[in-house]
Amino acid sequence: MPVRASASAPDNAPVITGAMPLPLGRGGRHEAAMSADQNLTRLRSDLRAWLAANAPQGWRAAAQSHAEFAASQRAWFLALVAAGYAIPHWPAKWPGGGRSLAAQKVIYEELAAADTPRLLLSFVSTYHAAATLMECGGAAQQARYLPAILTGETWCQGFSEPGAGSDLASLKCRAVREGDHYIVTGQKVWSTMAQYADKCLLLVRTSSDGVKQAGITFLLMDMKAPGVTVRPIHQIQGDEEFCEIFLDDVAVPVADRIGEEGAGWAVAQATLASERGLTLMELSYRMRGAGHRIAALIRDNGLAGDAGIIRDFGAIMTRVDATCALADRFLENRMAGIEAVGDASLVKLSYSRMLRDFSLLGLRVGGMGEQYRAPIVFGDLNTGNWMADFMNSYAWTIAGGSDEVQRGIIAERMLGMPREPKGWAA
């Protein structure tokens, strides 16, 4: 469709025809959109002012022991609850809730820009537990558990099992109904921050009949119940972000079942869909914000005149920019309702590879200095302890759907290549 030139176009201008359906070139914004923009601008300035006064200082130094890390996480979460920034994605009836995805984006942008601690300890509570309860929970369950989240009751997730890996539905943890309780026995693994959790979103097998998804039931378990043992996993960089959970005849009231028996797989999908792409945007922004750490190391190690290092630094920071832009675009598409199948995998894979390469550049620039073991910062990703950051990057290339799983999704669902054959004759 040719475009129309303005009235002042000269006679020998190209032939022009065609319609002009929208008033303005750059997207045709409406009054409502302008008003939303103003609200976002106000949110941003309010939050900045609040952060200037309230953002925790020196938290990285404090987050070098587990106890202090947990304490500072709790305190920061409660401060955000009080200020109305902790649960912007909850419905409007909750304090600070009812915000648009655009507003949530603003909040996480500002939290990242102010270099505040990531909300790691409360993440499962405010996203996974909340979504599960709101979408699939009964009224009594909602009344019991949702308000408690805002006073600091902490949830962990009991989905993964040893031996299942990315094949989540093959879980084996067994629950047998006895009266008004389920008696649960089995093992869970890769449960983030379970050592600090009060409650657990638990997937159990109540039947072995039919397809493996069909026998799964969703329970809410008290982590203080008899028979629950939590053992932090010693990660290779020294953190203990994940735990194993051993369950030995743990009694869970039937009242704490979400949905029907055997319907747990569908509930789990709702749980896992609760985070809508903000995390990777926030983390990408935080990576970009940590670029100054590599710059400082280049200067400190006398490499500012090394053409090769400078060039690689420029290329890496450009790729970090691209990773941020991709996360932004993903969120914008979600907001516009035009997300495509596989988009989330593009963002995840882009981020996870970037995190690896970013830390590898730090490791290279830091040289021998990075080989001396220094204290780690719990729960942070771009700390400038590059050997620890490098090892921590595996949490993103392996967990939450490994890079290999994401590649399969992109190839099959986005590029339309054939699925992995199911019936392999080896």
Binding site: V3, G25, A315, S350
Partner: protein, 334 residues
């Protein structure tokens, strides 16, 4: 006016994805007819005054089909004239260009020396499709000037290039006496002119590259779907699937950066963005030939044309080594 989506639709219809290598002259006539040179032209100058993202949409539409029609050099030449407020008959120049006169900017540097009498001798490289140009906008030696190609001391010399989708020329100057009236910018004004043109050039080249990269990946996936070996389609081999997926991720990230910069090019230099786009284009086309196997090695298949265009794009308006180093220095300074 027109939205970005409408423009994209129009471009897709004008240069459909399945018609590779549209004829240059017909393409150029279509571009002029559609008014694409006026899309980014300020409204005060008779254009639509749209953003740089519209230029990127058009550049991408041409890149995707390996078009020879030189929209990108033409838009940059026009940009330079528009920004040259002191140019005599500036409105006339703009009018002629919008009417279809082709006045491209050179996309490679020049090696030109000034003699004692101010006459210029040397070579200006990187002029696309100069055989259809009356003048060029030549940026070299700290100045931008219009040079009539029929002036005494000006020779137009075609250079044979690997890229078969475009034609590239040198402009050789021999004691060429520049016309002061055709000076667009020099001295202190040359830097702002450069900084005005550079993001436009980088965005357009990145758009050409990433659209080409996506086309080459699509072409590869289709080939892998159709070609069977060992009793199954090649697309069923997981190693190939994963490599395609990795390429898709790289395209997606570079593409997101392109559109973010196109919407708001101001905050940071765009050179490394262009370098990333070209790196992705090269990586995709390098893999594409491999995916195509034997047929990819032959001129019977179009695959290599993308490879060659990618290699040339990588050298235009700054190589990756140059642009990434500049980005690194800038990042170090902040």
């Amino acid at each position: 006016m027109i939205t970005l989506a409408e423009l994209r639709d129009a471009a897709d219809k004008a240069f459909p994805a399945d018609a590779l290598r549209p004829a240059r002259d017909a393409g150029w006539a279509l571009i002029a007819e559609m008014g694409w040179l006026m899309v980014c032209l300020p409204e005060d100058d008779g254009g639509l005054g749209l953003g740089l993202d519209t230029a990127a949409v058009l550049a991408g539409a041409l890149g995707r089909v390996l078009a020879g029609a030189p929209l990108v050099p033409a838009l940059l030449g026009l940009d330079a004239i528009v920004a040259a407020n002191g140019l005599a008959d500036r409105a006339g120049w703009i009018e002629r260009i919008c009417g279809g006169a082709y006045i491209p900017l050179n996309l490679l540097s020049g090696r030109v020396e000034a003699g004692a009498n101010g006459a210029l001798t040397g070579v200006i490289g990187g002029v696309f499709e100069a055989d259809m140009a009356s003048h060029i906008v030549a940026g070299f030696g700290g100045a931008y000037r219009l040079i009539p190609l029929d002036a005494p001391g000006v020779a137009v010399i075609e250079r044979s290039i690997w890229d078969e989708s475009r034609r590239l020329f040198d402009i050789a100057l021999t004691d060429y006496q520049p016309d002061p009236a055709l000076l667009l910018a020099d001295g202190e004004a040359a830097r702002p002119m450069h900084d005005h043109l550079a993001p436009r050039a980088h965005l357009a080249l990145a758009a050409d590259s990433l659209a080409g990269a996506q086309a080459a990946l699509t072409m590869s996936v289709e080939y892998l779907q159709g070609r069977r070996q060992f009793d199954r389609p090649l697309a069923m081999f997981q190693a190939l699937k994963h490599r395609c997926a990795d390429l898709k991720v790289r395209i997606a990230a570079a593409d997101a950066l392109l559109w973010a910069r196109a919407a708001d090019p101001a905050p940071v230099p765009t050179g490394a963005m262009k370098a990333l786009a070209c790196e992705v284009y090269s990586a995709v086309t390098e893999e594409a030939v491999q995916f195509h196997g034997g047929i990819g090695l032959t001129q019977e298949h179009h695959c290599h044309l993308f490879l060659k265009r990618a290699a040339l794009n990588a050298q235009l308006c700054g190589s990756a080594d140059t642009l990434n180093a500049a980005a690194g220095r800038a990042a170090l300074a902040t």
